[in-house]
């Protein structure tokens, strides 16, 4: 009997040892779900990640292809610069030569990157709607900020591809048509932000009411709706610039042009009164380079230590450099600037010490925008280069002159492919390595922390000038352009001293001035305003999109190519196809995946 009892006890223990009911409910480890983030704190964290996407760097993104600065899509396609470097047949060169196809990988990268921003914006909105620890006002403000960003990312897609799907927080089936024009949706997002965002934000990097306002104006500019744009811009531009608005940056400082042109591209003077909305790049912030301007990290002079890639991409074109010539009145020469090249060292040996840089009159913005031999490149002097590097010591010691384009001596990788020039804007200074550059500057990451302006006030003033030309007063247009030119004239120039054999000489002859004579002809005025945009905003990622919205891209670019191909062999045979190349191809994979009942919902752009 006892034995049977033991047997039964054993049997019971074995058979009915129970398991917990929720044994199979396991949360994913090391990550959180949307529910965890649906509260005040989570909404802020989701918003931070959404802002991050303004840099363009997402999980699968490329560095160059998704850069928030758009140098691939906005600059190398525009006649302002070449992809540069060496002929590696990278997609960047394919795009420079208008050879892109729907399977060119860069477009899928960019598509993923901008729609990741949209997806993150929507996550903020959903989390805010679900949060129970937020007031209605807090929710509205968070949603307004998310909608500002959603507007920004859709705007990026719109200017790239024109016909793109609009994705809001309610979409669950991601097969979405790109047939409807999404301008109204984009403007609605910005309008909601404009109505609900404060002027003064607690953090400098946040978008404010006026950033939304300026973005609405930018939409109108892209829609060629000059009347709406003009009205809105008048209500933004402060009285000091002849407007009647209260436009101010996110610290509440009224919009104004900086004293110095270069203050827009220097890490030490970021978030100033001229900034409407900037990408807040940062380095050494624990992100392993994720917030650095990695997308432009190859757009530096070659050779250690300023560049780690030795690539020297985004090299300014001859045409672009020539545009900075000025006449005896300090005014640009839009009709004949390109008749001959500025003196350059494209065919000059690095040890030819008789080379002397161009001595004609130039706009001082040239050398804040373009690096060229014999002119200081910011403050990169030989003392910042390897002190043992005798080659520099022999010749360049102590004098911050650009050693030029000879690959054996200089800062250019392959001038036969990229020309003799380097880009300057947004690169940091020699004494800023480790502050606006990575601590591990000797390593392979060399991203910059210098902010990039998505919209700055000079851009706003020049839109206003365009509107005045098209629908308002030519005189007001001239005044607006003159604000920008006066700053170029009155601000700091690149210091001029050049160690030419036998003594020191000025490296450039700067002369720029405002338009004193009234504009009488609308076409002349339009030409002047558009030319001013090129000089002021050159290499800032806008040019190609400006040419397209003006409707002149095909003529302008083919005209540029007809001359430039005689200077650069890689442009031989390149042409811009009107009606096709104004917009980029929608990635083939996205079209394939939009298949619904046998037909794709996404339609390809014409010509591809």
């Amino acid at each position: 009997m006892k034995s049977l009892l033991i047997k039964i006890t054993c049997l019971y223990l074995i058979l009915f040892s129970a398991c917990k009911k929720d044994f199979l409910d396991v949360d994913p480890q090391g990550v959180v779900t949307e529910d965890v983030l649906s509260n005040k704190n989570g909404v802020i964290q989701l918003l931070v990640a959404t802002y991050h996407d303004v840099t363009g760097l997402t999980i699968h993104s490329g560095w160059w292809s998704t850069s928030g600065t758009n140098w691939i899509y906005g600059d190398i396609t525009s006649g302002d610069c070449y992809r540069g470097g060496t002929n590696d047949n990278n997609d960047g060169i394919v795009i420079e030569q208008f050879r892109e196809t729907p399977t060119t990988a860069f477009f899928q990268d960019k598509w993923n990157s901008v729609y990741d921003g949209v997806s993150r914006s929507n996550a903020v909105i959903r989390a805010a709607q679900k949060a129970t620890d937020m007031t209605d006002a807090e929710k509205t403000e968070a949603i307004a900020e998310a909608r500002f960003l959603r507007g920004h990312f859709h705007f990026e897609a719109k200017k790239m591809w024109n016909h793109v799907p609009y994705i809001d927080e309610t979409v669950t089936d991601f097969k979405v048509s790109n047939e409807p024009d999404i301008w109204p949706d984009i403007i609605a997002d910005f309008r909601f932000a404009f109505d609900n965002l404060p002027v003064k934000q607690d953090l400098k990097g946040k978008a404010n009411k006026w950033a939304a306002g300026c973005y609405i104006a930018k939409c109108y500019m892209f829609m060629n709706d000059y009347n709406s744009a003009k009205a809105l811009l008048d209500s933004i531009i402060p009285a000091a610039y002849g407007g009647n608005g209260n436009g101010a940056n996110s610290q509440g400082i009224p919009y104004a042009l900086n004293a110095n042109f270069d203050d827009n591209f220097n890490g030490a003077t970021e978030n100033n009164a001229e900034q409407v909305f900037q990408i807040q790049f940062s380095a050494n912030d624990g992100s392993n380079g994720g917030n650095e301007n990695i997308g432009e990290s190859a757009n530096t002079p070659a050779f250690w230590p300023i560049s780690s890639f030795y690539t020297t991409w985004k090299q300014p074109s001859f045409n672009f450099v020539n545009a900075f010539k000025t006449d005896g009145n300090g005014l640009p020469m839009p009709d004949d600037f390109n008749n001959e090249n500025m003196t350059n060292d494209q065919d000059v040996a690095g040890d030819d010490y008789t080379y002397y840089p161009y001595q004609g009159l130039v706009d001082p913005r040239l050398d804040w925008t373009v690096g060229r031999r014999g002119v200081p490149y910011l403050n990169w002097t030989s003392e910042y280069l390897d002190p043992d590097y005798t080659q520099y010591n022999n010749y360049w010691v102590g004098y911050p002159s650009n050693p030029g384009s000879d690959p054996n001596f200089g800062w250019i990788n392959d001038r036969s492919f990229g020309g003799p020039y380097n880009p300057v804007k947004n690169n940091y200074r020699a004494d800023q390595v480790g502050i606006y550059g990575d601590y591990y500057a000797q390593g392979y990451l060399m991203g910059s922390a210098v902010n990039y302006s998505i919209i700055r006030f000079a851009d706003v003033l020049l839109w206003a000038a365009e509107c005045e030309v098209e629908t308002g007063s030519l005189d007001r247009a001239r005044t607006l352009v003159n604000y920008v030119r006066a700053r170029a004239r009155d601000g700091l120039y690149v210091p001029v001293s050049y160690d030419y054999i036998g003594g020191y000489y000025p490296s450039a002859n700067y002369y720029v001035d405002i338009y004193y004579d009234p504009w009488t002809d609308k076409d002349e005025a339009r030409k002047a305003v558009r030319f001013e945009r090129r000089l002021e905003l050159g290499l800032e990622g806008h040019r190609f999109f400006d040419l397209v919205r003006w409707g002149i891209a095909a003529d302008y670019i083919n005209n540029y190519l007809s001359i430039e191909k005689t200077r650069m062999a890689h442009l031989n045979g390149v042409s811009f196809t009107a009606g096709k190349n104004e917009y980029f191809p929608i990635p083939q994979r996205e079209i394939d995946l939009s298949n619904s009942n046998g037909a794709p919902l996404l339609q390809q752009n014409p010509g591809y």
Binding site: S17, A49, I59, N112, D285
Partner: protein
């Protein structure tokens, strides 16, 4: 097991400590295809180098669906059941076995000499219309090899040719002025890295049993030094198996092994490892510079085709990588069980199986100014982790007979399993002293407050499963056999709606020889016909895929909202897109066959036909970017089948002075994709390789999974007319047809006059037509001889290896045999500066992968019974003795890898070695 059991393929991973890749009946899924190993009841998915294989007493491979069904989700790729040795009734027995031996790589690739390469490069210059002048090789009709190269950081090297003044050796400086004397005869990089290996294994087993208990204790030491410099694996293990029967109705026992190992091989089957480095480093470079330091590539232009400096010095990499790297893997695994039999035939069993794998590593990374991207600081990293997997099974079984006609056995069981893992690691920079005794995480001097934050990592995983399953076996007159299994499996990896799957299996057998009407066929000892259908679920996907996951990855989610330039706020971004509707992947197998034994069981035949269908396959197909740039969601897509037959023949002679037995098996399977999505043109591409991301494998409905995909190469353009007449190819300007000469001519499949991606097609099947094995045992007096041959036939290999070893501009022998007008019969395209797409995936790279290999021969001698020993046997064994193949790569037995690159020879394979072992077995 390769070749010894039909439909089981085993690919040696080669390197020390690496485990073999085992596939049973082809590909069952696109994810983890490893079979389940059941070692004394402990279930492990995939093999494990911590197991001491010398303890193994029996191995059984389960392929039949009614048998694999008992193992549920884990058994969907087949089951390998291993039992280790237990004690036999009698006095304690002590047995010592050992073997040791050497090994060496079978085949060394031959390479160009520096002069041959320079000559080829001069031809490149001629072909490209460039002047015969180069910084490295001087100017003139003949290239002149440089005598010294001086590497200076950040600048082109200084080059000194014979006849020029020697460099100033006193300027030598490891940091910035490294003087290399070139090796005019050519450095044999393979000779530097490949070396003879050495293996030894010692095993001591103590075992015994009484009628109330049995026990076995084994100790093992295994040491394998591989054929690649500094690769090694050492393992120490101890195993204790015991069982006690305190009562007639009670049985308690355990099997437990603890194992500890150090070392390892290389990342095998890779296009980027030490082996591929060897192919890409010019023989002109010496191993050491003039001061005896390792030569580097820093200061030598990477990507410059004149020099082909390759990456970092592979000798430096192997030596440094191994000597500064320490750590261990360990495993404690086993089962403990208790059986109660209250009534005869009724057994209640509770069993717990545990696997605990702790590991630890630490390595010191020194600075090497001669390396590219060498950090300015040294660093030290340390980390570790563990995984713990327990499985608790409670089972009630009952065996009974109803008179002698009906035999019934049945069970029901309930099982719960939980898997947990955690890992962590940290790195500290800038150790002031590099002594091994000072290598601790506390010894670093952080360069700034941030660098430490970046250098900490961690993570973990939790998975749970529950199952209820039952089985009924019914046998009528021992003649008609029926079996039924039903499982209900739950997994934490699926959402609430699809968390459980139900998987039935049935089988029936007919032992015909037990029928009366067969009595007169006396030569037929046994004949059994069987048919089975069974299903298994598979949940071998990562955890947590049913919900959207958000991560605070600083690289893609943080942002400097404060505008501070050096401080980012924490953000959370979508990391993994979830799919709440995920459900079990299902394997459904039908099996029909027979087993026969004839002539007093001397001759045996076994035949099986099978059809294995995988449905609702768990996979991540291409996904729209509109939902966010996160990891794509898993989906239940794709269906494919493996249909095949297996035949095993055995013969054993009668026992005579010379007696023998042999076994031959042959099997085949045909893989076919049945469904991908509603879109019938849908396909799934594999991985891409090289700078152009050449896609080599594509899966599409109607084709075998992972079929090779590319262009059809129709030859080489020999004349300008041929170029003009052909469709336009990338990089060839038809208005200047000279640009096409010597380049590959690809077929214009859609006849649109342009060769582009639309002209790719299926160009080969990586699956074998059949595989076979032959095994012979021969006995003469006290001698025994075993011989084993295996073979694979009809599979194609994508020889990607060729693209960087036997190719214009490559360093392998024959790379200089390129097309020129005076060498029009060359197989390789011309070498010139071109945009032509010769290296695209094409039929050029497809080769027959068939081979026959004499895999092993063993000759043994057993001493007649001696007083001192109960047993004494010595033997010699050789592996990989001879291989017959037409394959032009190093070896056709390439590790199959994943379906993304199935059948692609990536070149970076650990060399197959010829091994010679001598062994002794002693029993006391």
């Amino acid at each position: 097991m390769q070749g010894r059991v039909a439909s089981v393929t085993v690919n040696d991973q080669g390197g020390p400590g690496n485990t073999a890749v085992v596939r049973i009946r082809g590909f069952g899924t696109l994810g983890d295809n490893d079979p389940l190993y059941v070692i004394d009841g402990v279930q492990m998915r995939g093999s494990n180098n911590l197991i001491n294989t010398n303890d193994i007493e029996t191995i059984t491979v389960l392929k039949d669906p009614s048998t694999t069904a008992l193992y549920g989700a884990q058994g969907s790729n087949g089951v390998i059941v291993i039992t280790t040795k237990s004690g036999k009734i009698g006095a304690p027995k002590l047995e010592y076995t050992m073997y040791m031996g050497t090994q060496r790589a079978i085949k060394y690739p031959s390479m160009l000499t520096p002069q041959e390469y320079a000559d080829a490069y001069w031809n490149y210059k001629r072909n490209s219309g460039e002047p015969l002048s180069d910084a490295y090789y001087g100017t003139g009709d003949q290239p002149i090899l440089p005598e010294y190269l001086i590497e200076t950081t950040g600048n082109n090297p200084i080059i000194i040719h014979p006849g020029e003044p020697d460099p100033d050796f006193s300027l030598y400086n490891l940091n910035n002025y490294r003087i290399l004397k070139t090796n005019q005869q050519g450095t044999g990089w393979f000779d530097e890295i490949f070396q003879p290996g050495f293996t030894q294994n010692h095993q001591l087993i103590l075992s015994g049993a009484t009628d109330k208990s049995n026990y076995a204790l084994s100790l093992n030491y295994y040491d394998d030094r591989g054929v690649i410099l500094k690769t090694y694996f050492r393992r120490y293990s101890i195993r204790v198996n015991t069982e006690f029967k305190p009562k007639t109705w009670l049985r308690v026992g355990e099997n437990l092994e603890f194992s500890y190992s150090e070392g390892g091989g290389i990342a095998n089957h890779s296009n980027n490892n030490v082996v591929t480095d060897l192919y890409q480093r010019t023989p002109l470079l010496p191993v050491y510079d003039i001061a005896g330091n390792y030569s580097g590539p820093d200061g030598l232009p990477i990507g410059n085709i004149a020099l082909q400096a390759g990456g970092n010095n592979p000798v430096l990499g192997q030596v440094n990588g191994r000597e500064n790297s320490h750590g261990f893997n360990s495993g404690l695994f086993g089962t403990a069980y208790i059986d109660v039999e209250p009534v005869k035939g009724l057994i209640a069993e509770s069993k717990i199986g545990v696997q605990l794998y702790p590991y630890q590593y630490h390595y010191f990374q020194d600075t090497f100014p001669q390396n590219i991207y060498s950090s300015a600081y040294n660093s030290f990293s340390e980390g570790g982790g563990y995984s713990l997997d327990w499985r608790w099974t409670n089972k009630l079984s009952y065996d009974f007979n109803i008179n002698t006609m009906h035999k019934i056995s049945a069970f029901v069981a309930y099982e719960a399993r939980r898997y947990t893992s955690r890992f962590n690691g940290a790195t500290t920079p800038n150790l002031p002293y590099t002594l091994i005794s000072y290598q601790y995480l506390s010894s670093g001097v952080p360069i700034d407050s941030i660098s430490l934050v970046n250098m900490v990592s961690g993570g973990g995983d939790i998975q749970t499963n529950v199952s209820i399953f039952g089985n009924i076996n019914y046998s009528l007159l021992d003649r008609y056999l029926f079996s039924f299994v039903l499982r209900h499996d739950g997994s934490s990896k699926f959402g609430q709606f699809n968390r459980y799957g139900t998987f039935p299996s049935v089988s029936a057998g007919w032992r015909i020889t037990s029928e009366k009407f067969m009595d007169n066929l006396s030569w037929l000892t046994d004949l059994k016909i069987k048919a089975a259908y069974g299903s298994n679920g598979n949940d071998a996907i990562p955890s947590g895929l049913i919900v959207n996951q958000y991560s605070s990855d600083t690289y893609t989610s943080s942002y400097d909202l404060g505008g501070n330039n050096n401080a980012a706020s924490t953000g959370f971004g979508l990391y993994q897109i979830g799919n709440p509707y995920l459900e079990w992947e299902v394997n459904k197998t039908t099996n029909i066959g027979f087993d026969a034994a004839m002539f007093k069981s001397r001759f045996t035949v076994s035949f099986n036909w099978f059809n294995r269908i995988t449905d609702h396959l768990l996979y991540t197909p291409p996904f729209t970017g509109l939902q966010g740039d996160a990891l794509a969601p898993y989906q239940n897509v794709l269906k494919f089948s493996n249909k095949g037959v297996e035949l095993e023949l055995g013969y054993a002679s009668a026992k005579r002075t010379v007696s023998y037995d042999m076994n031959f098996n042959i099997s085949t399977y045909r893989n076919k994709v049945l469904y991908i999505s509603k879109d019938t043109s849908a396909f799934i591409d594999g991985d891409g390789y090289g700078s152009t991301h050449v896609i080599t494998n594509r899966s599409k409905v109607g084709m075998p999974v992972a079929s090779f995909y590319g262009y059809i190469q129709e030859g080489i353009f020999q004349t300008t007319k041929e170029v003009e007449d052909h469709a336009t190819e990338t990089g060839i300007d038809k208005s200047n047809p000279e640009t096409g000469l010597g380049h590959f001519k690809f077929k214009d499949i859609n006849n649109d006059g342009v060769i582009n991606e639309q002209d790719r097609t299926f160009i080969g099947n990586p699956h074998p037509e059949f595989t076979f094995g032959y095994n012979l045992n021969l006995y003469y007096k006290n001698f025994d001889l075993n011989l084993f041959i295996e073979g694979v036939s009809g599979n194609k290999i994508f020889n990607y290896w060729r693209a960087f070893t036997r190719w214009p501009g490559a360093l392998g022998a024959g790379s200089d045999d390129t097309w020129r007008e005076d060498n029009a019969s060359a197989k390789l395209p011309t070498w010139e500066s071109t945009g032509a797409n010769d290296a695209a995936a094409s039929t050029f790279f497809i080769e027959d992968g068939s081979y026959v290999r004499l895999k092993s021969v063993q000759l043994g001698y057993t001493f007649p019974t001696l007083k001192a020993f109960s047993k004494l046997r010595i033997y010699a064994q050789a592996f990989n003795i001879a291989t017959f193949t037409k394959y032009s790569g190093i070896d056709p037995e390439i590790t199959t890898g994943s379906p993304g690159n199935y059948g692609v020879d990536l070149g970076g394979n650990y060399p197959i070695a010829f091994k010679l072992l001598f062994g002794v077995n002693i029993g006391l």
